[in-house]
């Protein structure tokens, strides 16, 4: 039964980290998304850096991607999954006329997904 104890401890560690990220993102989502949108060089604040590492190393079965609907003029958000049966999709009717706005939209979706997951059963 030793593995169950280890597993429980791991889950507690995960939860501690997730709670910290959830608290950060709940309070500062729009501010961090805007920082991400504005910074082309990736010199992010420690909080944004932590949030990005956490969100983008989560074990999910799909990824949000940017798709150019009009090359280098217009972008939208797509979803590509690892499931063989599921075809890649363009998410909605939203269109962005800059890569910055589109990548910010992706981050916003990733944050919302995480907060929704976190609000569910842990």
């Amino acid at each position: 039964m030793k593995w169950k104890k280890v597993n429980k401890r791991t889950r507690e560690t995960d939860r501690t980290k997730a709670e910290w990220v959830a608290s950060l993102l709940s309070k500062r989502r729009d501010e961090l998304v805007e920082e991400f949108r504005e910074d082309d060089e990736g010199r992010y604040s420690p909080d944004l850096r932590e949030a990005l590492v956490y969100l983008r190393s989560r074990d999910t079965d799909f990824r949000y991607v940017l798709v150019m609907t009009d090359p280098y003029e217009e972008w939208t958000v797509g979803r590509i999954t690892t499931a063989e049966e599921e075809v890649p999709t363009l998410l909605d009717d939203e269109r962005y006329d800059s890569e910055r706005d589109a990548k910010a939209a992706v981050l916003r979706l990733e944050i919302d997904d995480f907060l929704n997951d976190f609000g569910g059963e842990w």
Binding site: V67, Y72, E73, I80, T81, L107
Partner: protein, 767 residues
């Protein structure tokens, strides 16, 4: 799909393409004939045009996308048709004489290790016409249970063993008694080093009045059943996992009389009619013919592999003591099959291009268009023999193949700062896994993809492909190499275009005409033969410019008879998308060791002066000149360069030093008398040291605090007046067009091409 005129995405068609194609050669000369194999789904006709590819950049304020319509007899409308593709590897035994077309009794045996049991029906051994339901077939049913079927085209009898399978070795025997109407299916778990424990047998018996029958000419398969479509017979219901030592007896063998499937046969054993030894044709150079499977039985029913399953993989009795299959072929008696293997789409030719005489050497493509979609089939044109320039651009076609049809980032392996941009081609690849994968992907069972072939559409090797590279253009591979093409043309240099494959096929003759060879943006994969040729070229006075990053990193091997197919096994270390399974690090093509050239004792530093040190620097930085760059001996390289920094801007990361970067390191073979002309600086926390750069887990591996995370611009000469200039960055080529090609990186490159390409000695400090 994309509108071919405007480039606008057809949003309802995301994940689909109307038109695809490939060609037989990636490098031709004027006058050569080149077949194009096209599949067109939907429209009745498509339009073809021969175009020269010049620049792939389509950002609004960039150097502008350019291609030139050449005009050729193949230009114009062609009748469209759909051509199918059948992935999945297997072994096919033609058996033209029907030796294995039993009407009465027989017994089948094999060892197997399934990797995706209970996923779908998968076949072990068969002579089974799946469309007619006729013949015999030993398989795993959709629930993963071993099953035997016998059918006469009207009725099928099936018997299954109620045994839950996992990823371990099993032995299967099925005996069919046509006279008494009996079937006995026996399956045992096997004791192996990885899975100790006693053998456990499961058996089922049943009776049947059905005798195997079927259309004449149905082949015997290992790992598939026979299916047919309009294009002919192919293998379906393919297997994921290993099969070893299949053999067939033309009699009923009861459990008491039957040799165990693991047992070698001797004079006292029943005689098989066929027994395939998957490692029988191994010599010191690997497999004599990697596609041939030897029947050691009395009829010599030698077989062919289809779609390149993995050989030189450990069998059930691998001890772990030997990792080189050439030294112990008896321990490497297995073949690992995958349903996603594909090395030959097998399409028919739709038209043949005769390369126009006097066509300038360069990068070309046949552009295929429907009203709603387009596709490019690129290739290189070499000059006519004897009409070569002094300079050659060596397109890294090994790298194109390695990344061909890549879908890697679905499984992670990326920088957290990157938001992935994909194009319609990427959507298509995610939706159509039947077109095979890249060295960066894994098969459905998690086993790494070891083979890549260009005998299939390679959707992302296109001037219009947008993925993977740094911002703002995000170009990579062929599209990124077109920055070099555009720059060479814009600067007025005369040059020829050759490919990695030319180097493999023609050897030193491919390099001999040239004073200077310029490699591509990411010349990452090379065979031993190719690496030796380039080293000898420089050693004997040739000159090289390596304007890319992470060059000469992985070892590959070419198929001995089919240079369209290359192999990697990765290695036990390296920055890699998957690790080889234990005992799988030697190429089946040629038998040499795979992995990093660094681990084979030939680090890239020895040839280029630098070697891969860090990656994921999406937002590139600049280089700053070193004090030694002011030495008189290298003044010719900086003629016209007045700034302290180079590459402050760029189209692949907004700087010249980014994505994957390389560092000067004498401890790994960088020439000690080389000049480090400039080094990049100000890297970010997202630029991470390559894993082979440190021995154990450690902090301080990112560009913000680790000073070893930087690119070095290095120049060295050889005693024979050979010379090498290396930039050590994948973002470098994107810096060349900035400020209308008038920038410090461009000037330095131009000086190097000018001097390296000339006859005669290079300038030195004493002149």
């Amino acid at each position: 799909m994309r509108d071919p005129e405007t480039g606008r995405l057809d949003e309802s068609g995301f994940g689909e393409k109307e038109i695809l194609g490939y060609t037989d050669e990636w490098s031709v000369r004027p006058g050569d004939e080149l077949d194009f194999r096209v599949s067109c789904k939907g429209p009745d006709v498509y339009r073809a045009a021969l175009v020269e590819l010049i620049c792939a950049d389509r950002i609004p304020d960039g150097p502008k996308y350019r291609e030139r319509e050449v005009g050729s007899p193949i230009d114009g409308e062609h009748e469209g048709r759909v051509q199918s593709v059948h992935p999945g590897s297997y072994v096919v035994v033609p058996d033209a004489d029907g030796v294995l077309a039993f009407e009465k009794s027989f017994t089948l045996q094999c060892l197997f290790s399934p990797t995706t049991p209970a996923r779908k029906r998968e076949t072990l051994l068969s002579r089974w016409d799946d469309d007619a339901g006729a013949g015999y077939c030993l398989s795993l049913d959709a629930d993963g249970r071993p099953q035997f079927r016998v059918g006469d085209g009207t009725e099928v009898t099936a018997v299954s063993v109620e045994q839950s399978l996992s990823e371990r070795w099993y032995a299967a025997t099925v005996a069919y008694d046509g006279e008494r109407g009996r079937i006995e299916l026996r399956v045992a778990t096997m004791e192996t080093g990885k899975h100790p424990g006693r053998e456990q047998w499961s058996a089922r018996e049943t009776t049947t009045a059905v005798a195997p029958a079927g259309r004449g000419g149905t082949p015997f398969y290992v790992g598939a059943v026979a299916r047919a479509d309009a294009d002919g017979t192919y293998g379906g219901e393919t297997f994921n996992g290993k099969i070893e030592r299949p053999r067939v007896f033309d009699t009923w063998l009861s459990a008491d009389d039957c040799p165990a499937p693991t047992e070698s046969l001797d004079a006292d054993s029943p005689s098989p009619v066929a027994e395939w030894d998957f490692a029988a044709n191994v010599s010191d150079d690997g497999f004599d013919d990697p596609d041939r499977v030897v029947d050691v039985g009395p009829h010599g029913l030698d077989a062919e592999t289809v779609n390149q399953p993995a050989r030189s993989v450990p069998g059930h009795d691998w001890t772990g003591d030997v990792h080189d299959f050439v030294r112990a072929p008896d321990q490497y008696g297995a073949i690992h099959f995958h349903e996603t293997d594909l090395v030959d789409a097998g399409w028919e030719s739709d038209f043949t291009l005769t390369v126009p005489p006097k066509l300038d050497s360069g990068v070309y493509a046949v552009r295929l268009r429907t009203d709603d979609d387009e596709y490019y089939v690129p290739f290189a044109v070499r000059p006519e023999r004897g009409d070569e320039s002094d300079v050659a651009l060596l397109l890294p076609t090994n790298t194109y193949l390695a990344y061909g049809n890549q879908r890697m980032f679905l499984r992670g392996g990326s920088s957290p700062q990157r938001t992935h941009i994909v194009d319609d081609g990427y959507g298509f690849l995610c939706n159509h896994r039947e077109f095979g994968a890249s060295f960066y992907d894994t098969h459905v069972d998690g086993h790494g993809v070891m083979f890549s072939s260009r005998k299939r559409p390679l959707v992302n090797i296109s001037p219009k492909a947008v993925y993977g590279g740094g911002p703002p253009s995000h170009l990579s591979h062929l599209a990124a190499d077109l920055y070099l093409v555009d720059w060479l043309k814009s600067m007025g240099f005369e040059y020829d275009t050759i490919t990695d494959e030319d180097l493999h096929v023609d050897g030193e003759e491919a390099l001999e005409p040239y004073n200077l060879v310029v490699t591509g943006n990411h010349a990452e994969y090379y065979s031993k033969r190719q690496l030796d040729l380039l080293k000898e070229y420089v050693r004997s006075g040739g000159r090289m410019i390596c304007p890319g990053g992470n060059n000469f990193y992985w070892a590959i091997a070419y198929h001995p008879d089919c240079p369209q197919i290359i192999e990697t096994r990765r290695g036990e270390t390296g920055t890699e998308p998957w690790k080889p399974e234990p005992g799988e690090v030697y190429h089946q093509f040629g038998g040499d060791k795979s992995g990093l050239w660094r681990r084979r004792g030939e680090p890239p530093q020895q040839l280029t002066g630098v070697g891969f040190c860090a990656q994921w620097e999406i937002n590139a930085s600049h280089y700053r000149r070193t004090p030694e760059s002011y030495d008189e001996a290298v003044a010719f390289l900086f003629d016209g360069v007045s700034s302290e920094t180079l590459g402050d801007d760029g189209l692949l990361g907004r700087g010249a030093a980014g994505q994957e970067i390389d560092r000067y390191d004498p401890s790994l073979g960088s020439p000690e008398d080389a000049y480090v002309l400039a080094s990049s600086e100000n890297h970010s926390q997202y630029a991470l040291r390559a894993t082979e750069e440190y021995r154990s887990s450690r902090p301080r591996v990112d560009g913000a605090i680790d000073s070893d995370v930087h690119a070095d611009l290095v120049y060295y000469r050889t005693e024979t007046d050979g010379a090498v200039l290396t930039t050590g960055s994948m973002s470098w080529v994107g810096a060349l067009p900035c400020d209308d090609y008038d920038n410090a990186a461009s000037k330095l490159m131009a000086n190097a091409v000018e001097w390296f390409g000339r006859d005669g000695d290079l300038p030195s400090a004493t002149e």
